[in-house]
């Protein structure tokens, strides 16, 4: 069994009228199969309402499947007795940095998770130091989160999860409310944790630029996984991506248009540098 193993996972939201009768059913996650191995960097792409966040909340046991199964590190997320263990294994970082920081001092916030799972005091301090150092926020440990930038707040939130020593971190649109610098900062930290600490990362986003360094990309639409593969495989399907209302990066789009009009450029250009190289190679020929 894979580290994260979803089989035919379904989640339905019920719309209710004022008396509480069910008016309609919305299928947010529709028979999804998903396998993630430990140590991988996975991205889930999709526009708003594609079901990607709902899927993510299952991995952290915040939601229970309506149908199908999901195992995280061999534990069934549908079993309420496993919830704490699952949440410890797979930590989650949310979109709004302000709404997930509980304490008024950075270090106290990072210590919140370990406190909840009953870690002894001395060890909490070791974990807080380790977590804050691994996201590069150690020197801000006594600061108030209100005085930090969005990217820094999000790094504190990641440290808060790291302090629980999870095997996996789910980042649910961690950059949606950040400026370009903050976005780069957060994505860089995610990659560092993946490479240096071996943490499995599941990045949920609608920015295609952010998935470039992933091992595997899943594209979701209307609750279904509609496309998956390496970033290059996914990026080469420009028309399909646009059909799913994803903003294809400029370089990829330009490369695609040039290729279509007959220039010998390979498909699946990931960024500007690759496009430059491909164009230079083109000119040489």
């Amino acid at each position: 069994m894979s580290f994260i193993d979803a089989k035919q996972l379904v989640h339905e939201y019920f719309r209710r009228d004022e008396e509480g009768n069910i008016e309609g059913i919305q299928v947010a996650v529709d028979h999804v199969d998903l396998q993630v191995e430990q140590g991988q960097f996975i991205s889930i792409l999709g526009h708003n309402g594609s079901g990607k966040s709902t899927l993510a909340k299952h991995i952290n046991a915040l939601l229970s499947p309506s149908d199908g199964t999901l195992y995280v590190d061999g534990r069934d997320v549908a079993d309420p007795r496993e919830h704490l263990a699952v949440r410890q294994t797979a930590g989650m970082v949310f979109q709004n940095p302000d709404n997930q920081i509980i304490a008024s001092v950075v270090e106290e916030d990072v210590g919140f998770g370990p406190e909840n799972i009953g870690v002894p005091t001395d060890e909490i301090w070791q974990r807080v130091e380790y977590a804050l150092k691994s996201v590069g926020m150690w020197k801000y440990r006594t600061h108030s989160p209100n005085k930090l930038s969005g990217g820094q707040k999000q790094r504190v939130a990641i440290a808060g999860v790291m302090a629980m020593e999870p095997k996996c971190i789910i980042l649910d649109e961690p950059t949606a409310m950040l400026d370009p610098n903050g976005r780069k900062e957060v994505i860089r930290v995610a990659h560092e944790l993946n490479e240096k600490k071996g943490v499995t990362i599941i990045l949920i986003t609608h920015y295609m630029e952010e998935v470039v360094g992933s091992d595997r990309v899943f594209v979701m639409d209307h609750g279904k996984v509609v496309l998956q593969g390496t970033p290059r495989e996914v990026f080469s399907q420009v028309e399909t991506l646009e059909k799913y209302r994803l903003a294809v990066p400029q370089a990829t789009k330009l490369a695609y248009e040039l290729q279509k009009s007959g220039l010998g450029i390979p498909s699946g250009i990931l960024n500007r540098e690759e496009l430059l190289e491909a164009l230079a190679a083109c000119r040489l020929n």
């Binding site: 952290n60 915040l62 704490l84 949440r87 410890q88 930590g91 989650m92 949310f94 709004n96 302000d98 709404n99 997930q100 920081i101 509980i102 304490a103 008024s104 001092v105 270090e107 106290e108 210590g111 919140f112 998770g113 370990p114 406190e115 909840n116 799972i117 009953g118 870690v119 002894p120 005091t121 909490i124 301090w125 807080v128 006594t142 600061h143 108030s144 209100n146 808060g160 999860v161 629980m164």
Partner: protein, 275 residues
């Protein structure tokens, strides 16, 4: 105006007051409030003032920071003082038209104003030098005995600390909504009280909506980090009394005794020196 509220904002500094155990500070604040309503003469006032000055000097928070909190209650202070001034019966000192100011009224108004100002400044020292989490821990520890009569002490303490943490965020948000509404022609400043109260509605509705959304998000984030109530929880910063707390307790108790003594001995003392 909204940014002037300092209540519940932590001011980091390295001082003896910051190092104190939150239980000591809570106890000290409680005694201080009791003392504020106990003193009724000059000697008592001097003792209370000395205690307040000692606290202000040793906490290393800029004085201007504490006074900022007063601006918000200026109106309340004035109204309360006016009521005391004009509506207390006694020997008339002077009169403005039909309004008579009595000697007792003057005294009451003065006492009340001093008490209110001291109350705000004194309690803000506690909130400025204690992080909300420490405060919560302190309350939780001191009120633990209530658990026996099924009061959810931990939950209440947690709610309090979260409320304190969100004060600056919600203030910022109010500012933002206010500006957004002003940009679309809303007027918060002119008109009578009724009109101004009505003008607050388009401010409060979006504020409440967003507060509820934040609460939902926060609950989810707490749950994702394994929060499941106070059971089996350990502390990152467990409460421990140190040398500074022992000294503080002695000072606080001495202070209380002094205030009580000042109240008891004032009149005999006056008689003794024949005034």
């Amino acid at each position: 105006m909204l940014r002037d509220i300092t209540l519940g904002q932590y001011y980091p500094a390295a001082s003896a007051v910051h190092d104190m155990d939150p239980r000591t500070k809570l106890f000290g604040t409680l005694i201080y409030i009791i003392a504020l309503f106990l003193f009724n003469n000059v000697i008592g006032w001097l003792v209370v003032t000395a205690f307040l000055v000692l606290a202000i000097r040793s906490c290393k928070v800029p004085f201007s920071y504490m006074v900022k909190g007063l601006k918000a209650i200026v109106m309340l202070l004035l109204i309360a003082a006016a009521f005391n001034l004009f509506l207390t019966s006694g020997t008339t000192v002077f009169a403005i038209g039909p309004l008579k100011v009595s000697d007792i009224g003057l005294r009451n108004a003065g006492l009340m104003t001093i008490r209110m100002i001291y109350l705000i400044v004194g309690t803000s020292i506690m909130t400025l030098t204690t992080t909300p989490n420490q405060l919560t821990d302190g309350l939780e520890q001191s009120l633990k005995f209530l658990n026996r009569i099924h009061v959810p002490v931990h939950e209440i303490a947690m709610m309090m600390s979260i409320a304190l943490r969100f004060i600056p965020i919600l203030i910022e948000e109010t500012d933002k909504i206010m500006k957004a509404q002003m940009a679309r022609g809303a007027d918060f400043e002119s008109g009578g009280i009724v009109k101004r109260a009505k003008a607050m509605v388009p401010l409060l509705v979006p504020l409440f909506v967003s507060a509820f959304r934040r609460a939902g998000d926060l609950a989810l984030a707490m749950e994702a980090r394994c929060y499941h109530g106070g059971e089996g929880r350990t502390k990152m910063k467990p409460l421990q009394y140190h040398g500074v707390d022992r000294i503080s307790y002695i000072i606080i108790l001495a202070f209380l005794i002094l205030v009580i003594v000042s109240r008891v001995v004032y009149h005999p003392l006056l008689q003794l020196i024949g005034v």
